[in-house]
């Protein structure tokens, strides 16, 4: 087995910092304890102002007035580790969490697929950057050794047990994750490195530091089994991100949403699934939460596509109040691999059927913008058709020559030298066809219809009113 350890020493800070597009704003994370408040973590900008770990809140504010202060949130840190594990499922099926700072991935089985250790490592590194976390990474054949190497910042991957033993002996004892008292005692007997510790008699070490102290060396060197509890993924995706300061513009929200989307996409890759429905929740301090449901035409796990959708939805949404946290939920996952396609088909699996398309068009454009047309058995041309619901059954129309374009209202034509004029003189080529009808509803018409041709050879359907037969009207075009 080969373990990759992700060590996230700055998690207390990163859970707040990753939601902001401006990492240069000073930020300090405070912790309460023993009746006082002190700095547990801060970013580079804050350090630049002179703020250091352990300072009291008074000192912090006196050094930097515009500093953003957050209270440490251990639950969010644990949740962040879980989200990293969810995201990392795209790389391996065996993941283990070691709170508060570590995530372990078993990568022996993934090397072939991802094109070797270096490529895989690079992908994980890039992914963590996209997620907004700072992590040290180390690779070793045992989980504990990988965690120690990550703490020591050892850059090379160690793949063999013999090499591991040699490398571990060089590490300082400070990587051992032991309480300060133990480290102090080791320091007192002149032990600086793990190798020096291992040279001491085992019985003496056990008597002085307990059985567990010796066991960790056996586990790290692979002499004793060190089983890891596998991380189990939930069936749904839900992730929340607190923003370091309240946000009221779309770009900053999109930045934070992108972080969550990277998590989601990693999770979906691990599950072999796509999403078709998402919900983005915006939390406001002084207002009820806003919910943005986002639907997709077909299941997807393409981060760029999803961020485009988010952009569209957010730009059409008016924020009722500034946002202090966002959350992303995806409850129904759709397997992407179930559509396996025939080599020679041309229709893709993403097709939507007709009712769905109609629904979507009506949802965005309004029902009155989406209509069908059908003919009506009626002699008066303007009543010989009507709008209907899309897909309504059709009647038959008589087979007389009719123009394919009809004007909404007949257009009165000018008369030039006794001939009707529409962008030029019109020449009658066919007709007349008399239409005389409608006396029963008061909208009666008596007209002679002609087909006329203009000088540029377009054909029109024109009529004149009877009985005077003076005025000419344009009623249709022969498209």
């Amino acid at each position: 087995m080969l373990w990759l350890s992700l060590y996230l020493p700055q998690l207390a800070r990163d859970v707040f910092l990753r939601g902001s597009p401006q990492p240069d704003t000073p930020l300090a994370v405070m912790e309460n304890g023993n009746g006082r408040q002190w700095v547990a973590a801060c970013n580079h900008a804050a350090q630049h102002c002179g703020i250091a770990i352990g300072m009291s809140s008074g000192a912090v504010y006196s050094l930097c007035q515009q500093i953003q202060v957050q209270i440490r949130d251990p639950a969010a840190e644990l949740e962040a580790l879980r989200q990293i594990a969810l995201w990392a499922q795209q790389f391996t099926s065996l993941i283990s969490l070691s709170p508060p700072h570590d995530v372990l991935l078993e990568i022996q089985g993934s090397l072939m697929l991802f094109g070797g250790l270096a490529t895989l490592r690079q992908r994980i590194e890039d992914g963590l950057t996209a997620l907004g976390y700072q992590a040290a990474m180390a690779i070793a054949p045992t989980p504990l050794a990988a965690r120690w190497l990550a703490r020591a910042g050892y850059p090379e991957a160690v793949t063999e047990l013999e090499e591991l033993s040699r490398v571990l002996r060089q590490l300082p004892v400070t990587v051992l994750m032991q309480p300060p008292a133990v480290l102090k005692a080791l320091h007192g007997i002149g032990v600086r490195r793990i190798g020096e510790c291992l040279r001491l008699p085992r019985a003496e070490l056990t008597r002085r530091f307990g059985k567990a102290f010796l066991l960790q060396f056996d586990q790290a060197l692979g002499d004793h089994p060190d089983p890891q509890a596998p991380f189990e993924a939930p069936a749904h995706f839900a992730s929340r991100l607190s923003l370091p300061s309240e946000v009221d513009n779309t770009e900053a929200l999109l930045f934070a949403a992108r972080r969550l989307l990277v998590e989601l996409v990693g999770f979906l890759r691990g599950q072999g699934c796509g999403v078709q429905r998402l919900q983005l929740d915006l939390y406001h301090r002084y207002a009820a939460h806003s919910h943005l449901p986002i639907g997709l035409v077909s299941p997807s796990r393409d981060a760029e596509h999803l961020i485009g959708l988010f952009r569209e939805h957010l730009s059409r949404f008016t924020l009722p109040a500034p946002v202090e946290a966002i959350a992303l939920r995806a409850e129904s996952l759709t397997s992407l691999s179930q559509h396996s396609e025939d080599l020679f088909t041309t229709h893709s699996a993403e097709h939507v059927d007709w009712p769905q398309l109609c629904e979507r068009l009506q949802a965005r454009l309004g029902p009155e913008a989406v209509r069908g047309i059908c003919p009506v058995a009626e002699h008066r041309p303007e009543y010989a058709w009507r709008y209907c619901a899309p897909g309504e059954t059709d009647a038959q129309a008589p087979g007389l020559p009719r123009p394919s374009w009809l004007l909404n209202e007949p257009l009165a034509l000018r008369i030039v030298e006794g001939r009707p004029w529409f962008e030029g003189p019109l020449q009658l080529v066919q007709g007349p066809e008399r239409i005389e009808s409608g006396w029963w509803d008061g909208l009666d018409v008596r007209r002679d219809y002609f087909i006329a041709e203009s000088t540029c050879h377009a054909r029109y359907w024109i009529y004149r009113e009877l009985p005077q037969a003076r005025a000419w009207y344009l009623h249709g075009l022969f498209g």
């Binding site: 070797g116 129309a397 374009w405 498209g479």
Partner: protein, 208 residues
């Protein structure tokens, strides 16, 4: 060579993905002289066709009529996006178009127009989408072209003559003009063909 890099190759076909080489179907236009000039012998299905014309009502629907009749009778939908006038139901019926499969969209904003055209083209249930967009950029045409490919639809965009010298990603571009004996067609661009001759579709007496 790792599995990952093999999968990146363009010539590796994976069972779960779409087939790379789409068969291009062509739909006979119903006008033999025009079919003879078009590659594949008809309207390119799964692609965009541009009809450039100076004015409406010169026979553009007569040109499309046989194809529209055929598609709608096969149960594929025809979507009309912002036609300049009302498509007159009795005339369409007369031309053999099944009106049951027509849908008319009247959309005000250009963004919504493009969105609707794209959705309809992409959906796969539409046989043809006829659109008279207010304005459209080459980049947007490209989007529509991709949508038409995805939905295997006949996308027809009517535009004014002014854009005839602009670049366009459409598979077929026709210039329509009224002539003494009928409708004159110039093929400006046809994917897979060049050196086309102008064609005149004669006016018939059963005018459509």
């Amino acid at each position: 060579m790792s599995l990952d890099s093999v999968l990146q190759r363009a010539d590796v076909w994976r069972g779960g993905e779409q087939s790379l080489h789409r068969q291009v179907h062509n739909l006979p236009t119903g006008h033999a002289a025009l079919d003879a000039q078009l590659s594949g012998g008809g309207w390119p299905v799964g692609a965009l066709t541009e009809c450039l014309l100076a004015q409406h009502g010169i026979g553009e629907l007569r040109l499309l009529g046989p194809a529209l009749a055929r598609l709608s009778q096969a149960g594929r939908w025809l979507v009309w996006v912002n036609p300049p006038y009302l498509p007159y139901a009795p005339a369409l019926n007369h031309a053999g178009v099944s009106l049951r499969h027509n849908i008319l969209l009247q959309i005000e904003t250009p963004d919504d127009q493009l969105w609707a055209i794209e959705q309809a083209l992409r959906s796969g249930s539409c046989g043809a989408v006829l659109a008279w967009p207010q304005r459209i950029a080459p980049r947007q045409l490209r989007r529509l072209q991709l949508a038409a490919e995805m939905g295997s639809a006949l996308g027809i965009v009517f535009r004014s003559l002014e854009v005839q010298h602009q670049h366009s990603p459409a598979a077929l571009r026709l210039r329509l003009a009224a002539a003494a004996s009928g409708l004159r067609l110039d093929i400006l661009k046809c994917r897979g063909r060049f050196n086309s001759q102008p064609i005149v579709l004669e006016n018939d007496h059963a005018v459509a």
